[in-house]
Symmetry: C2
Subunit: 219 residues, 2 copies
DNA sequence: CCGGATCCTCGGTGATACTG
DNA sequence: CAGTATCACCGAGGATCCGG
């Protein structure tokens, strides 16, 4: 099994040897939030052939990026998780997310977003430099999904599930992507019916400032 | 020419569609420092087939990552350069460099480093958080190559060529990689003969602090 | 059901030769 | 110098099968 190499003594080339093969980064992406089982990965990566998934998992494990764990729990399952080294990719992936979203076609917003892309989207769009001294609790609804985003002294805590005492609830009747891309303002989202909000409306502008992928890319 | 897609409405997947194909990121890497001609890229990317280079260049151009420019200068050349959008990848590539270098085998240091990897290496290893209030001019020699790194009020200016009035000159008799990886200290590099230095030796420790890829990766 | 392995086809990659 | 043309090969894609 001679892996494809670039033969350059360079960190970038080496990095791409580790996670540059097709589907590899998306597998890492899937493991960013939580460990996953083989069939979960298959389901969450529509289009990946089973043999490619199996091959990538073995390669990533051999390279020390992910770990295969056999859970002793009832039902004896196998889960894949990131190693500490693999988890260091998180920051890179968030930046890649920001970069790539600029080149995303304006979707027809039809595909209702599942939870994880939404969590990642907000996480990647968070701008810490806008959050100094900020304290606010947001709750975001996507149809039947609920997630929370709490900013506490400039730190972001984000994940699925409701917020205990949200200052502002944003009910996304449509995708949040245009807001994150900077194509529209948060106020416009409310005015156009894209968002329905409950709570402290004053925080709406803050939300738009806190979560925004860089727009200089649009040029 | 149907490009390979992932079919996910996700910035990471989209980003990998743009620059995830084989050799694409290394082409971007080559353009990070300066525009390059076709044959320069061929020479600087040993092993890339000419048709693959041609294909990637066309794809990257179509995607808005790079630009093909016909220079009106004598000799009528074609050069490829990053677009502003493509240049936004710089930060991501530097982080990937940091991440990938941890998985680099301890090379036999034989291949004399060309200039650009060295510039990139230092650039990627720079830790701004260590540079507050720092003013220092370094000059680094690699055999016949010379580069400079000037830290001015925490800002780094780095590139090929000598420094006008260096505070410290580091003559690398061997690779700088072990230092950047944190395997050795700057002092040890001098003691072992890996570096020869001229100038203010007091700045040596500072240099080691300023330029160091994160070591928690090693574990 | 889970966690893959196997088989087959197709197209991208790698290597080389060639051209305006 | 800046690519095209040609071709062998192997990895991706897609489906199916299999042991626990």
């Amino acid at each position: 099994m001679t892996k494809r190499r670039y033969g350059q003594h360079c960190g970038i080339a080496r990095g791409m040897e580790l996670v540059g093969e097709r589907w590899a980064i998306l597998i890492v992406r899937e493991l960013l939030l939580t460990p996953r089982r083989y069939t979960e990965l298959l389901r969450r990566l529509p289009g990946i052939p089973t043999n490619v998934l199996a091959t990538r998992l073995k390669e990533l494990e051999a390279e020390g990026v992910i770990e295969r764990k056999v859970t002793p729990r009832p039902g004896s399952g196998v889960v894949y998780d990131l190693t500490p080294y693999g988890r260091e990719l998180e920051d890179i992936l968030l930046r890649l997310w920001r970069w790539g979203i600029s080149a995303l076609p304006v979707s027809q917003d039809s595909g209702r977003p599942s939870m994880d892309p939404a969590v990642r989207a907000l996480q990647a769009s968070f701008r810490p430099e806008m959050a100094a001294e900020v304290n606010a609790k947001f709750e975001i609804w996507f149809g039947t999904f609920v997630m929370h985003a709490t900013v506490d002294q400039g730190r972001l805590e984000i994940g699925p599930g409701a917020s205990p005492a949200p200052d502002l609830i944003i009910d996304c009747r449509s995708s949040m992507t245009p807001l994150l891309k900077g194509d529209v303002t948060a106020d416009e989202c409310v005015e156009s019916g894209r968002f329905w909000i409950t709570g402290d409306r004053e925080l709406l502008g803050l939300f738009g400032d806190l979560f925004r992928a860089p727009s200089e890319a649009a040029q």
